[in-house]
Amino acid sequence: MRTPLTIRIIQSMPKAGWAGLAAFALVAWVGIPLAHLALPESSPFHVSGYLLTLLGKILCYAVVAVAMDLIWGYAGILSLGHGLFFALGGYAFGMYLMRQIGREGSYQSDLPDFMVFLDWKELPWFWWNSDSLLWSLFLVVLIPGLLAWIFGYFAFRSRIKGVYFSIITQALTFAAMLLFFRNETGFGGNNGFTDFKRILGYSITSPEMRATLFALSATLLMGVLVLGRYLVSSKFGRVLAAIRDSESRVMFIGYQPLWYKLAIWTLSAVLCALAGALYVPQVGIINPSEMSPANSIEIAVWVAVGGRGTLIGAVLGAFIVNLAKSYFTVSFPEYWPFFLGFLFIAVTLFLPDGVVGLWRKLMGQRSAPLGPAASAGPPPADPVAIAKGAQS
């Protein structure tokens, strides 16, 4: 008898995990939206629009962190170009948001302002159907997914690994950034897209819309956690960990590592893109700086801080680093890059298993208990080597 899939999905997460998820759902679907919408601003429990947006934004980052952890922590592939997929998802959805502005732009034209400014008379072909929400959501998945697949196919087929792979992904996102900086590319040049007004005709700045986008981000994160948990505890996850530890051995027992890497790589890129699509309406802007190499490196830092090889670690890392960042950038903006660099080095040297590893140590748990999930954790000496490679 084969256990049905639904039961296996449920079994892939311990009871405490489901309880945590349920508590999170209650807070994210009911608690925080109500605290924003129903409580008066004078109440100490009122959640301001600023805080709601900040949290929604970090939820999107957390999705990216989990996506990164799936390939880095579990498959040993360090991408330093994941910001690209995030940004592409944002741009794909941003096209729809630009079209929803309608004639309310400064030039009162059917075309987005930047096109009028460039003296374009009609939409370029790739803006076809961009006023359809469904079509743009389809593009959110298709474009980054396709790019990741093609890039991954050639990279993995040529057996490009380790630092070389990381450097190529950096180059890829850098090249894309330069491309998107150009006005002729058709995505608003260095200003990107902004001044969004509506989604499906509803105002994008209304409290209800903000609460909805926040709840959707939380939902995406929960979905990604459940999916990720299932995958890493399935045989697929065990094959990935085996490829990470000894690729040639995996080939001799009859697996084609190429397709395994490609599957997790493409999935990871698509998850980033979905996060990007939810991020853009919440922050109200997308421009090529999202593709800057530094952004992609930051994603790796979140995962390293939280603890790679554990999904919850990725989420924690995204929250810790980004809450610190929003504090720093308000109080001492000029020190943030130094702090980030310091954090990365400190974690790499002293906390190779991140915050989660520290927690386990403090609780006296062995950091590598038996079982599929833990066995998928990276070998301890490895993060230092990879981090060193990434820095050079």
């Binding site: 899939l5 697929f236 065990r238 960990a241 995996v250 009859g254 079982g371």
Partner: protein
């Protein structure tokens, strides 16, 4: 049991079917990619040459292994034994020569996973198990099954698959260690685990590179018994330096030296061969 793709062809009676694998193989048409044992030979190596930067590691090597045979390969260090296995499993491409699995399958044109799928399993000289996985998981990963991505995503172990794993665990005497991380096993236990992984793949031809290195005498003896019991149903090629072990296996022995075959025959004959004595004493 098997699909007949080309009903027009009738190979029955063309060649004597091999009795060792039962009536299933007699008089039926082979699927493409299926092992053809119609000459009772499972592996042909013909005039294989491999050189590394001008150094000839394999030099006009000719070797055939019969279906169901247990063959021992001996030879001094650097004779090319491991390199020969690299050629058979697709890890190293020969500069020239032919390598066929059965009558029809050209090993020089296939990738490592494809060759593994056709039924050649390999145990490495240095034991290589997945150290971060448990003993059970190691066997699960090796098990013969559909190894495509989506199958692995949806796969759940069937009861008979579980049974196969626990049978193998008993056979390799690791039943008590099923949930231990493989990295924590002793050297000999790792060797056994790797043999178990090989058995889980249910290969037709097993290549075993120094399988008893690091084992105790008792473990070595049990390994010999296991291999002898596998012969017949499987074909085995065992590389070993341990002469007592080679003697216990009792099969035909091939001596490799400087990348080609120096002598072949039963152990006593090759040990008496003056050229073999010279090679071993001359080192």
């Amino acid at each position: 049991m098997t699909t007949v793709l080309d009903p027009g062809a009738d190979r029955a009676g063309l060649n004597d079917p091999q009795n060792w694998q039962g009536p299933a193989s007699s008089g039926r048409v082979l699927k493409p990619g299926e092992l053809d044992l119609s000459h009772n030979v499972i592996l042909y190596l013909e005039d294989i040459c491999v050189s590394f930067d001008g150094f000839k590691a394999i030099n006009n090597l000719n070797l055939t292994i019969d279906a169901g045979e247990l063959r021992c390969i001996i030879g001094p260090n650097g004779a090319g034994k491991t390199t020969m296995m690299d050629v058979i499993t697709g890890k190293t491409r020969p500069d020239s020569g032919k390598a066929f699995f059965g009558q029809t399958l050209d090993l020089t044109r296939l990738t490592e996973p494809e060759i593994a799928h056709l039924g050649i399993g390999r145990k490495f000289q240095k034991p290589t198990v997945f150290e971060n996985h448990t003993v059970f998981e190691n066997l699960e990963l090796a098990m013969k099954t559909d190894k495509r991505v989506w199958r692995s995503m949806l796969a759940a172990l069937l009861d008979d698959e579980r049974d196969r794993i626990s049978d193998t665990l008993k056979l390799i005497r690791l039943a008590g260690e099923a949930d231990r991380r493989a990295g924590l096993l002793s050297h000999g236990q790792k060797q056994w685990l790797e043999i178990g992984m090989l058995l889980m793949q249910d290969p037709r031809l097993l290549l075993l590179d120094e399988p008893v290195a690091g084992m105790t005498d008792d473990e070595t003896e049990r390994t010999a018994e296991l291999f002898v019991s596998l012969a017949g149903k499987h074909s085995l090629m065992v590389v070993e330096h341990d002469m007592a072990f080679v003697e216990a296996l009792g099969g035909k022995v091939t001596v490799l030296h400087e990348g080609s075959v120096l002598a072949e025959g039963d152990l006593a004959t090759v040990q008496a061969d003056p050229r073999v004595i010279e090679v071993y004493l001359g080192r």
